[in-house]
Homo-oligomer: 339 residues x 2
DNA sequence: TGGTGTCATTGGATCGATCAAGACGATCCC
DNA sequence: GGGATCGTCTTGATCGATCCAATGACACCA
């Protein structure tokens, strides 16, 4: 009696065909070096012939591991140039594949950032999480840590310096320093900053890089900074005000979204972005890449972030777990026509 | 002997606490109406008290279902404005959550579009797939159909009209018709087309909407169309040539990427996009939304696409499976400053 | 009184893999 | 030569849920 053609072959099927026991087939898959080479070959032939792959549910049940990494994904942000998460998801999926993991996406309601995590954790659906939106005051990280759930954060635990979880982040200050220094090298003296409101730790970090670079050359920052919401309209207004009140010749922005606002103002006033009047954004979004003549932008090394995160995850999930070291990566500057 | 605090509670734990059998707890979770109301309440209290969630691996093993939907995700396309997939992923994740499904992302090598599908299918890791890149001649769909694997395609089976799998698509021709008619209503007479090479079925579909709209008003299309690669540079070159040779006053493009190329040419020539000289893109990307004064663009109803796809998936996975009807959705036009 | 039916609940088998322990023969060493 | 050791392979138990068949309790009706 052959099994229904719709039923995938099992260990037992392979074992019967190869004339060995189930355990031997299991070893052929998981510990090939335990088998004599001729038996191994015979089993592998049988596996090939039947097109066998271990049933994931059964394996997960027994080994108490799913080889899935959970990641919450919020709704797409329309009207902004924020594409960091999307590029990161791509990188993470590809990197974790090499480590034998798949990525499980789940939706999160902004009202209850814990929901979703709770469920997946209880039902042992994922082995670990990647937590991305740590800038929101980071309740997930705190909660997951209490729960002793394995996770790696993309983003530093700003408000919890005693946090014990591994994290990977990009040095925002280094990025804006890079951008500002680039403008200084181009001869600019009065370089303005348009960033986020003061309660954003990331925003303050990026701002610090700008002021650090200016101070390093003995230049003042007074009156050259503006803190607004992360929208194109805010960037437009802020740049208009700064142009009138502080006469900068260049802008460094905390995001491409804000930088687009600056380009908007330039257009309002017939200014052409370039060597004379420059703008630098942050994130190297598609917008920066395709806007006419291009927007110079700080580019986060998201591929490297993914690699480091997966490394940390592998450490966490190893037996015994490795104390993962946290990593701070340095961004680069994508030079384009706007500077 | 209490279980280790790190081990999640099981059915048996709940059963013991509630003083009922395992099966009764299982029923309380899956068929609550089978229980007497007082027993149900008692079991639910126990579940609550222990923080119990059914172990997914065990459930998957027994029910032969994972409640996971697999979706292949290619590498991010840099240098273009193509963000359809990202917006769609967001929508799909949120919609499938409501149906009790999670989304499993996996990476695909462009050389072997089947790899990944094969593995997940054999190991019964996912219940079904969502296939998105059907424009590539669609080898996955053919292969999955042969395999009798449940899947829904986002995109019509252009080259396989006899395909039996359910699909959901957006009427590209309707979108470009909408865009062209909008321009005609604004008084334009000579409206150019910049689209993709002829081997793209989607491109030809979108092109058809443009020519249909012009012909409906008795206007000629001769010399007004150009077919190029989907890059900003190509759009820029094509629009420059068209301006010189055909004197159009408006452009309809197969993508926002190409439309950005047109804006590039405008900028080269000191033309301001607006009522006089108009451009319309396709996809309503973030680029279209934040570029100064905005790019009018055809917007695919991706949220609705996700809803329809999940509906079709639920049908496929129901017992017995429902013959899912395929759906063609109509896009809308996001009006902005460029027209 | 006893048969029939319904309702609520139970116990054992099962999904397909891995773990733990043991069987078997060959080899080695004192 | 006998016991220990190693390499190779096998058997039975197990992970935690659901499926299936069966049980007991109870009401109904002839």
């Amino acid at each position: 009696m052959t099994p229904l053609s719709t039923t995938p072959p099992t260990l037992a099927d392979v074992a019967e065909l190869a004339g060995v026991s189930r355990q031997t087939v299991s070893n052929a898959v998981n510990n090939p070096d335990l088998l004599r080479s001729d038996t191994l070959a015979r089993v592998q032939d049988a596996i090939e012939a039947l097109g066998y792959s271990p049933n994931r549910a059964a394996r997960n049940l027994r080994t108490r591991a799913s080889h899935l990494i959970g990641m919450r994904i919020g709704p797409a942000q329309e009207g902004t140039a924020n594409a960091t998460m999307d590029r990161f998801v791509h990188s993470l999926v590809e990197t974790s594949r090499e480590a034998g993991y798949h990525v499980l996406l789940f939706a999160g309601s902004s009202e209850d950032p814990i929901a979703g995590y709770e469920d997946l954790l209880r039902s042992t659906a994922v082995d670990a999480f990647v937590v991305t939106d740590t800038y929101l005051g980071n309740p997930q990280a705190v909660w997951l840590e209490q729960r002793r759930a394995p996770f790696v954060a993309f983003g530093r635990p700003w408000d919890h310096p005693d946090a014990r979880h591994p994290w990977v982040d990009v040095d925002g200050a280094a990025g804006t320093d890079l951008a500002t220094t680039h403008l200084l090298d181009r001869g600019h003296q009065r370089i303005a900053w348009i960033g986020w409101r003061k309660d954003s730790r990331i925003g303050e970090d990026r701002r610090a890089g700008w002021s650090r670079a200016l101070h390093a050359r003995g230049l003042p920052t007074t009156g050259l900074a503006s803190r607004v919401e992360d929208t194109v309209a805010s960037g437009r207004e802020a740049s208009a005000v700064l142009l009138d009140e502080a006469q900068p010749t260049a802008f460094v922005c905390a995001s491409d979204t804000l930088a687009m606002g600056v380009l908007h103002t330039f257009r309002d006033r017939g200014i052409t972005a370039g060597r004379e009047m420059s703008v630098v954004g942050f994130d190297d979004s598609q917008v920066a890449q395709v806007v006419p003549f291009g927007l110079t932008s700080v580019r986060q090394p998201l591929e490297d972030v993914a690699v480091e995160i997966v490394k940390a995850l592998e450490g966490l999930l190893a037996h015994p777990p490795t104390i993962a070291t946290s990593t701070l990566l340095v961004p680069t500057l994508a030079l384009r026509g706007s500077s």
